[in-house]
């Protein structure tokens, strides 16, 4: 009998055991799209994800974001060391397998992916219309901005305006279609965003400022639609007339403080928060500079010699370039050494404006000593500064009509005044004025994250830039088809995943 009971017990136990085990899954610690987008905080957290996608280290938080811009004269890098990715583009020889180039591709695309998510879902949230609009406005702005960077770097793009199924393989749409979408996004953002300045977030003026630059670019290569000059001037004028931005900050402090009155849109960084900006600090410091605490420079990025030599003589130039290296000696004293001394590793000038980071959290130094050199800074990355709007306006108003206008002169002279330059010669021809503004842009925005490179692209300036190059720069191989170098190649991995695409010519 006893055994019979144990058998029954065993059978019962089996039934209990099988009852306990469920094969359905409940990921208790994970959020899923099915249960999300209920409250404004869900929406806020989704919007914040767009910023991180763009700002993070593998995207715009490091020099790798600028890899394809090294073809420009305000960028060069070491002939050796671990700088091959940038050096290849400096020599106009970058290829699709370049592993740093991916930051330029994935950064904006990942931000677009998050923006699409917000734009698709923001209306589901239980919140006020004003709050929802403010959230959606940021998403539209950032999506427009990202497509703008992508289209100028890579040319035709797939139009992905909503999150896709993984098996969908969209074609590359032509550049005009991409620009139409960018304008639509920025116009929507302009309507949805408010006028109150809030650090780290775009306003309706940020959208206008971006639109002005987009129209100006559309007037140049490859679309060459001259009717956009007027639209560019009009959008820039909205920002100027609003009177909320100014150039009261001394030029050097624009790069050592955050949120100056000329910052129209910036990405924000926090070292302690795990989101450092590594574009400032060590990246810009010569390899041979070693600080008192033993930290040293990375030698990632500096200007070409003739770009420096051709700079206007003014305080801005003095504040921009770093021309006397401080080389530490065994007794911890520093020997001040000119950049072109053969004692130096690169024999190039460097950028001063990117050294300090925020209040010296990059390079902490005096005139005769370097205390420490840090790669991770809290410096906000200004994506749009007010001088861009002024110079966009000056150029657009000049090119839209029959030459320079008084307001155009006023705009460029505002920038020149802060730079310590005399007002621009009056009575210039339309082209001479345009060229003067483009020259002004080159030095106002020297090495600022592609500004100069995109001017070279839209105005097709590469032959002139190459001609001006010092022979000691990294050599451009004979037989390089310069006309094919205005666009970067689509990264190799992306081409493999999208066999329906054709690679840009020349790659």
């Amino acid at each position: 009998m006893k055994t019979k009971y144990s058998l029954l017990l065993a059978a019962l136990a089996l039934i209990v055991i099988s009852g306990c085990v469920k094969l359905s899954e409940d990921p208790k610690a994970n959020l899923t799209p099915q249960t999300y987008f209920k409250t404004q905080s869900d929406l806020d957290a989704s919007v914040n994800a767009i910023y991180i996608a763009l700002a993070r280290d593998g995207a715009w938080g490091f020099t790798s974001k600028e890899t394809s811009y090294f073809g420009s004269d305000d960028y060069t890098t070491d002939p050796g060391l671990n700088k091959q990715d940038q050096r290849d583009f400096d020599r106009l020889s970058g290829g699709s397998s370049n592993s740093s180039l991916t930051a330029e591709w994935y950064g904006p695309w990942q931000a677009i992916y998050q923006a699409d998510n917000v734009i698709t879902n923001y209306s589901k949230v239980n919140s006020t219309q004003a709050l929802k609009d403010a959230s959606a406005g940021q998403a539209y702005f950032l999506r427009g901005l990202c497509y703008y960077y992508l289209v100028r770097t890579f040319g035709p793009l797939p139009m992905v305006l909503t999150n896709l199924d993984l098996n969908a393989k969209p074609p590359r749409a032509d550049v005009a279609t991409v620009y139409a979408s960018i304008i639509s996004d920025l116009q929507t953002a302009k309507k949805l965003l408010g006028t109150t300045l809030a650090q780290g977030r775009p306003t309706t003026y940020s959208a206008s400022a971006c639109l002005a630059d987009v129209y100006l670019t559309m007037a140049g290569w490859p679309l060459n639609q001259a009717n956009n000059y007027a639209l560019a001037a009009a959008e820039a004028n909205i920002v100027i007339q609003a009177g909320v931005y100014n150039l009261s900050t001394p030029y050097d402090q624009v790069f050592t403080t955050n949120n100056s009155p000329e910052s129209i849109f910036a990405l924000e960084y926090s070292v302690a928060g795990g989101l450092p900006d590594r574009r400032f600090g060590s990246s810009n410091v010569p390899l041979d500079e070693v600080a008192l605490d033993g930290s040293s420079g990375w030698d990632d990025v500096y200007p070409e010699i003739n770009f420096f030599k051709n700079a206007p003589v003014c305080t801005r130039t003095d504040l921009t370039f770093y021309t006397t290296l401080k080389l530490i000696q065994p007794d911890k004293s520093f020997v001040l050494t000119p950049w072109n001394s053969t004692v130096t590793h690169a024999q190039h000038p460097y950028y001063k404006k990117f050294r300090a980071g925020l209040n010296g959290d990059g390079v902490n130094e005096t005139a005769t000593q370097i205390l420490s050199i840090q790669p991770s800074t809290n410096k906000a990355l200004d994506v749009i500064r007010y001088p861009q709007v002024l110079l966009d306006y000056a150029e657009a108003s000049d090119m839209a009509g029959g030459g320079p206008t008084g307001a155009g002169y006023a705009a460029v002279n505002l920038v020149r005044a802060r730079a310590g330059e005399a007002p621009l010669t009056p009575g210039l021809s339309q082209t001479a004025f345009r060229d003067a503004v483009v020259y002004e842009r080159a030095y106002e925005f020297a090495e600022e994250f592609g500004m100069r490179w995109f001017d070279i692209v839209r105005l097709q300036l590469l032959p002139a830039v190459i001609a001006a190059r010092d022979p000691s720069e990294n050599s451009i191989p004979a037989g390089t088809v310069v006309a094919q170098k205005y666009l970067a190649p689509i990264p190799f991995g992306e081409m493999t995943l999208n066999p329906q695409w054709t690679q840009n010519a020349g790659y």
Partner: protein, 1017 residues
């Protein structure tokens, strides 16, 4: 679903059979003749008593075991036959015919066709097995001072490739059975310990036998977890008799097997000057400095500074004994293992209790409780750019470790851009402790003589606690990414295996049927608390409130429900058939249930008349099998799309941070990359044919197997396009094959009264080939570790290196041609496949392969009286390694600035007058590419073990009431024959089978010297 239902019905049917048989048993209870008491002693061929031998009355279930002195006592009918069996010995049957005292000599059996072995959910005689498996016995394990159980598999079994991941303390090796069966997933076998699936004991001394199941006929019973092979472990149990105490200890000295030949300060300074001169820069070191280095030395030998000779200690104490009703074995083990680089160690305390309780004549219960308490300190140097071990060979030999004030010198102008390796090693702390508890209860109920119900129930709890300090003195602090963290995780697991075994013999036919219902579930959860930029680090990692907080937590739960039916059939003990089908239902997949069938046949010719009389062939068995298994390389929640809550970069700071302050955090929840809706297990279809032969009564044995394995539904982290958020998602993409041949030859070439030589050679040959990649052909895979790319290509094996082919240097006579590439004589020359006068990714080609042509183990034991000399060689042939460590020594690659290898001294580099193939210093960026220049032959033969042991004669010991005493000295990895110039051809830091063979800064296996004692009371 259908299969699940069928199997469940089968299980219920087995239950019905149970009940019926039970009833029948009572009806047909038969009276046996009156029993007599039989006593005796069991000894081996050297006359030593064997404890623990199972003594059974044939045809019944009653039995006993021999005690410490090999003695037994049993009640049996006077016409009964007694069967004596013990692992590693040939089974012996003795008909009593009225005898009441038996003295038995059991003979060791190398091939062990008569021995009873674990097969999973039961045991079988080896002669009846249709599948392919290998055994490693406690005796073999005891020959080496093993710290991790999986090391016991190295060199001891054919078809099993064991390679050390790295030489850190506490590190277990990689085990691969018959090649890699997954391209990105786990390729390690499934461990099953005493019925506990997915668990392996920590203390090797607790292990009785290891059975390695290799073909599908053996592994298909483990269904979706069987495709990498299965390692069945049986732990030691108590013996009948008075308490027996065993004490086992050894002390070991571990050291680096070699140092790399690097420049001293003088050569280094010359080399830096040579480099500076190439770009027109003024010399870095003055002639006076050079002279000083030349005459007075100075600087630092960074290898010497970072390495240490470590004293490892191991202790194991076991008490065992038992009566007819209760047998027990308790053991306590302790390992203290410092590493071969500064400030690293592994410590482990293990406790184990095995109890066998005979509840009544029909029921018995086995209860195993085990605890393992490992402790790690800085065992986080798995290889890579920033590891101190890697930086030590890249560091500036002219730089002292500390400055005049005694402070560490963080950076050196001519070193790599990383961080002082000695300072990093001494300052950082990465401490982990774990508590792993496990209880296994196995209940056996012989319902009737033919039918047994078995239930194995396991409950496991694991808790980890990690503490990390990366404050002042670490590269993290130096780059302002300093932090401390505390993290903990908890795991609870439950397993219930319930099966009925029906054994019946009718005439020449014998059948064993097994029906199983099994459930397994596990839940893990944990959290990480991290603080950045602490205001003070004086409290180490103990106070998280001193910095900005960053927290995250995890939860994961899963379940597996399984059904298995297995039938073993034999005819006349000559023809055997095994057929099984297992259905696994898993929570991980959208399609929950999958089934895995197998069939195996064998012919044991030993019992055929024509062999019975043979004096030459004593055993002959031929086997063939087919089956399907799976690989559970899909994690929980893999098919559920997610909104992410990343722990790093999880917040955005709209007001920006200030130095030392984070600003106001705004939580971000990005949408994750999409998921595949149709994930399946990787499925392996395996075919095997094999033969087992023993000649001259086991003096020479031979086992060989040929196999063909096809793996389909290969899982791959498929890259998503940028517009799909980039990153990767898991998808089934393709298939591969592993075909191979393996054999082992064993023998006892010499046996005399005082001398005995036994030997075993096992050889494994495996050919791996990717056959389909679902359109992702020529997938270039970065190792994520700065090393060369690998390529996945249809028709090629896994582990292919992919990059430029190095052709030496451009010679002066080739100046014009070099100029087409923007290069000059003295620069590196590579093969330009497409002839476009540029080195681009179009010129990449396959450069070598990590998988060996064959691997082998060669074991020999020479015993003279009480003295035994053993040695084991283990090796591989025809494999290659890509050594980024050696590549970096040439300078210029990655963040490495100056060469440190002695081969890069100025007179070895290209000059117009001495045109070597070592490129001169140059501005050409292509001199420093990853290329075939750093691919090396990694074939090796290692003296894995050499030991000399002495058993103190029993006669001497009796006086001091010691049962046995054995002392030994041994050495491991004493020498390696290899053309490879790096530290160790065996190690690499491959993340998966694609990038195997890539090595970067991996700590080598130590060379060790051991002294040990085994003592029994």
């Amino acid at each position: 679903m259908k299969m699940k239902r069928i199997l469940f019905i089968f299980f219920l049917f087995m239950f019905a059979v149970t009940l019926n048989s039970y009833a029948a048993y009572f009806k047909s209870a038969v009276k046996s003749p009156p029993p007599v008491t039989v006593t005796g002693q069991v000894k081996d061929d050297q006359g030593k008593p064997i404890p623990g031998v199972t003594v059974k009355v044939q045809g019944t279930t009653s039995g006993t075991q021999t005690d410490v002195d090999g003695r037994f006592q049993i009640q049996a009918p006077d016409d009964a036959t007694l069967v004596f069996s013990f692992v590693g010995f040939a089974e012996q049957s003795v008909k009593l015919n009225g005898q009441t005292v038996l003295n038995i000599t059991l003979l060791e059996s190398s091939i062990g066709l008569q021995e009873v072995v674990a097969v999973g959910y039961g045991t079988q005689k080896r002669s009846e097995i249709t599948g392919s498996s290998s055994t490693v016995s406690a005796k073999e394990i005891a020959k080496r001072p093993i710290t991790q159980l999986s090391q016991a598999l190295q060199g001891t079994a054919s078809g099993v490739a064991v390679t050390s991941a790295n030489g850190q303390p506490g590190q277990g090796p990689h085990v691969q059975i018959r090649g890699a069966n997954s391209i990105t997933g786990n390729t390690e076998p499934l461990y099953v310990t005493d019925g506990n699936i997915g668990a392996a004991p920590d203390d090797p001394n607790d292990v009785e036998t290891i059975e390695i199941l290799k073909d599908a006929a053996s592994t298909a019973i483990y269904g979706s977890r069987g495709s990498n092979g299965v390692v069945l472990i049986t732990t030691k149990s108590g013996h009948l008799g008075k308490p027996r105490i065993e004490f086992n200890t050894w002390v070991q000295n571990d050291q680096m097997p070699k140092t790399l030949d690097l420049m001293g300060p003088y050569d280094f300074a010359r080399s830096v000057n040579n480099q500076f001169e190439s770009t027109g820069q003024t010399d870095a070191f003055t002639q006076a400095q050079l002279d000083n280095y030349k005459n007075n030395g100075g600087g630092t030998d960074w290898q010497k500074a970072l390495f240490q000779k470590a004293w490892v200690q191991y202790y194991d104490l076991a008490v065992s004994g038992g009566s007819e009703t209760v047998k027990y074995r308790f053991s306590l083990g302790y390992l203290d293992q410092p590493g071969t680089i500064l400030n690293t160690y592994y410590k482990r305390t293990t406790l184990k209790s095995n109890m066998d309780v005979k509840l009544n004549n029909r029921m018995d219960l086995k209860i195993i409780l085990s605890a393992s308490l490992p402790q790690n300190h800085n065992n986080s140097y798995g290889g890579g750019l920033t590891d101190p071990f890697n930086q030590a060979v890249e560091w500036d030999p002219t730089s002292p470790i500390r400055d005049a004030s005694g402070a560490y010198i963080n950076h050196s102008k001519y070193a790599s851009i990383q961080f002082n390796p000695v300072e990093q090693a001494m300052s950082q702390a990465d401490d982990g402790t774990a508590t792993n508890l496990n209880g296994t209860a196995t209940f056996n109920y012989r319902i009737i003589n033919d039918l047994t119900f078995t239930s194995t129930d396991v409950y496991s709890i694991g808790q980890n606690y990690l503490q990390r300090y990366f404050g002042p003195g670490t590269s993290n602090y130096d780059s302002k990414s300093d932090y401390i963290n505390n993290e903990t995780s908890k795991f609870t697991g439950y397993l219930s295996s319930n099966f009925l075994t029906y054994k019946h013999k009718f005439g020449d036919h014998s059948i064993t049927a097994t029906g199983l219902y099994e459930v397994q579930s596990g839940t893990s959860m944990g959290f990480v608390a991290r603080a950045n930029s602490l205001s003070t680090y004086s409290l180490g990692y103990y106070n998280l409130a001193l910095g900005g907080a960053q927290n995250s937590s995890t939860y994961s739960s899963d379940a597996l429900v399984s059904y298995l039916a297995r039938v073993n059939y034999s005819y006349k003990d000559r023809y055997f058939l095994t057929a099984s089908i297992r259905t696994d239902g898993s929570s991980h997949l959208t399609k929950k249930y999958s089934s895995f069938p197998s069939i195996g046949v064998s012919w044991n010719a030993t019992n055929e008349d024509f062999l019975k009389s043979s004096k030459v062939i004593s055993d002959l068995k031929i086997r063939a099998s087919y089956g399907q298994t799976g690989n559970q390389n899909v994690g929980a929640y893999s098919s559920i799309a997610q909104i992410l809550t990343p722990s790093s970069q999880g917040n955005y700071y709209f007001n920006g941070g200030m130095p030392g302050a984070a600003g106001t955090a705004s939580v971000a929840t990005p949408l994750g990359t999409g998921v595949s809706k149709s994930l399946e297990w990787e499925a392996k279809t395996a075919y095997d044919v094999g033969v087992d032969i023993a000649f001259l009564k086991g003096r020479l044995t031979f086992t060989a197997d040929a196999y063909k394995n096809n793996v389909t539904n290969l899982l791959y982290q498929k890259p998503a396009s940028g517009y799909d958020n980039g990153n990767t998602y898991q998808a089934n993409i393709g298939s591969l094959t592993n075909n191979g041949f393996e054999f082992s030859v064993g023998g006892t070439p010499v046996v005399s009264r005082d001398f005995r030589w036994t030997t075993n050679l096992n050889v494994s040959i495996n050919r791996n080939k990717v056959t389909n990649l679902g359109g992702l052909d020529n997938q270039v895979v970065g190792s994520g570790n700065n090393t060369v790319n690998a390529i996945l290509k249809v028709g090629q094996p896994l582990g292919e290196f992919y990059g430029y082919k190095f052709l030496g240097t451009w010679k002066t006579s080739e100046a014009a041609q070099a100029a087409l590439y923007g290069m000059k004589p003295g620069d590196a020359k590579y093969q330009d496949i497409n002839g476009d006068h540029a080195y681009t990714s179009a010129d990449y080609q396959t450069l070598g392969n990590a998988t060996p042509q064959f691997t082998y183990g060669f074991i020999n034991d020479f015993t003279y009286k009480n003295l035994t000399l053993s040695f084991m060689f283990q090796g591989q042939q025809g494999s290659q390694v890509f050594s980024e460590t050696l590549a970096y020594l040439w300078g210029g690659l990655g963040d490495m600035k100056n060469a440190t290898t002695i081969e890069a001294v100025p007179e070895n580099l290209w000059t117009p007058s001495h045109q070597t193939d070592n490129p001169a210093w140059s501005n050409s960026s292509h001199n420093y590419n990853n290329s075939s220049r750093y691919v090396y032959n990694s074939s090796y033969a290692k003296l894995k073990n050499l030991s000399l042991s002495y058993k103190v004669p029993a006669a001497w010991l009796q006086r001091i009431s010691v049962n046995n005493l054995e002392v030994y000295v041994s050495g491991q990895n004493l020498f390696t024959i290899t053309p490879y110039k790096g530290y160790d051809p065996e190690i690499n830091n491959a993340g998966n089978a694609i990038t195997q063979g890539q090595e970067f800064g991996v700590i080598p296996n130590p060379k060790t010297y051991t002294v040990g004692v085994r003592l029994g009371f």
